[in-house]
Amino acid sequence: MNDRTMRDDLQTVAYYPGCALEGTGHAYNRSTKRIAKKLGLNLVEIDNWNCCGAMEVKNIDPEVQNYLSVRNMAIAKHKMGMDVVMAPCNGCYHNLKKAEHDVTHKEETRKTLKKMADKTGQPEYKPGDVETIHALDWIKYAIGEENLARRVKHSLSGLKIANYYGCMYTRPRHIFPEKDQGEGSESTSKPHFMDDLLRAAGAEVVEFPLKTACCGGAHTLSDCDTSTRLVLNILQAAEACSADVIATECPTCHSGLEMHQIRAEETLGVKTQPVMLYFTQLLGLALGISPRQLGIHENISQSLGLLRQKGLV
């Protein structure tokens, strides 16, 4: 199966870290770059990139959000000559995909964005100029499970992991035309790329029904009570599945889970055990990279303590 899904055009990709990876998601940025180096993959940061608008700007105007996304994609294509953009943040990934969808299917979007590109003296973005992929696609297709398993130095065996993908990685389905395409492709109802990779790294992946439940990330500060309830559902479900770790692949989900785990304890008196780690941190550990280089000490939940207890550090 690996042979059929492996791609050789991902050795060098344009890297779009996004704002969160320069702030709260610093450890995600760091660990992504570290594993790239370890695996011999080349990340070229998009030159002079801008924010994708996250979950907020579309509420001011959807075309402004599309403009923000295509500006980055056009730079990758026309100024850097890249064909693939890799975004580790679900929000960035989602927005670039959404822009690609709108540019492909909506005449009105194309017109508006063309006008804006002309006014700002930027190259126009055309459908298919670049392919946007997530960090999960990147490792899955550039390295693959078999290859990854061969490179594992410290197996994650004994670690029970619930994989949490959040909302923006799979929904809505129509902006991800490459998903749900049978064997080798990602599923929008039951995503498995992170499961596949961490299993290859030796971890025990638990069956987790809330893989794509919402953490309330869009309202993590503006509607704290709702977010705390939603996060608590996820944490308690992971606990019920006997997971030690919730593996994440999005900075907003990751910090949302960490923040509201504390808030649930402070405001509702409900303490939950699982700790949060980015999947890149977990893969990095398996590849033999030191916890400090993966930014594990930057996590808010007591992930380092758990790893020590499990003898993984």
């Binding site: 709260t24 002079n48 924010c51 579309k58 804006m116 006014k119 799979t170 919402c214 309202h219 503006s222």
Partner: protein
């Protein structure tokens, strides 16, 4: 008429008679509860058009009321009053007063996109929820929601510099909404965060507060975005005023 599902009808629309005689038939007791006769006269015929003028509302007209949105809704699962299908129905019928009953909760949509994912008509109900809450604010039915304050702060920073700085977003948002930064859970979180951070990283984060991250040569983009927003606001104003004049 006996009403078996009284819980489905609002108390003010139910009329109970202690003793009632209709055409010489005594209907006291079990048979004496009636649904109040109503006729709706205060339609806003322009309601759907108004809402579709707000960001996210463009496809509200496609809805055929299958209910998949409400069925899949994250917020509905924790608050049954949160009912996207029903609000879209009311908006399309022009029943503004009925819609206003739920005005305090509509903004709480968490944008999980479950509804847009399952919608067979590509209504993008998540967008409609945003459009509805903007419409409520524009018509003065509700003050700006917390979510709207957050969106505006976010947008403003991107407009100015092309990027955001999370610390600034949080501070300005708490400031705008008059919330104290010193809440026990926030303090504990910051403590946990600082505990692990290496000095150099803290130094770097401090620097990014002083020297905000910026996209170079952003002014043309800023101008072009502002132009688009101004145009959109004018269009919306026309639609809203057109309605008030008629």
């Amino acid at each position: 008429m006996p009403i078996h599902e009284e819980s489905l009808i609002r108390p003010e629309n139910l009329r109970k008679h202690e003793e009632l005689n209709i055409d010489n038939v005594d209907v006291s007791g079990h048979w004496s509860t009636f649904i109040e006769t109503r006729s709706v006269a205060d339609y806003n015929e322009n309601l759907e058009r108004e809402i579709s003028a707000f960001p996210g509302g463009a496809y509200i007209h496609r809805c055929w009321q299958c209910g998949a949105c409400t069925n899949s809704c994250t917020v509905n699962a924790i608050n049954p009053d949160f009912n996207p299908r029903y609000w879209i129905y009311l908006a399309r019928l022009g029943m503004e007063q009925e819609l206003l009953r739920d005005k305090e909760i509509i903004w709480q949509c968490v944008s999980c996109h479950r509804c847009t994912h399952v919608c067979p008509r590509d209504v993008e109900p998540e967008g409609v929820m945003k459009a509805l809450s903007h419409w409520l604010e524009a018509k003065g039915h509700t003050p700006k929601s917390q979510s709207q304050h957050f969106d505006e702060e976010f947008y403003q920073q991107i407009l100015e510099t092309g990027k955001i700085e999370e610390g600034r977003i949080v501070r300005n948002f708490f400031n705008r909404t008059g919330q104290p930064l010193k809440q026990p859970w926030l303090i504990r979180m910051v403590k946990n965060l600082i505990r692990g951070l290496p000095i150099m990283l803290m130094f770097k984060m401090g620097l990014s507060t002083l020297f905000r991250p910026k996209t170079k040569d952003w002014s043309k983009s800023k101008h072009s975005i502002e132009e688009l927003i101004e145009m959109r606001e004018l269009e919306r104003k026309k639609i809203l005023e057109g309605n008030e004049a008629s």
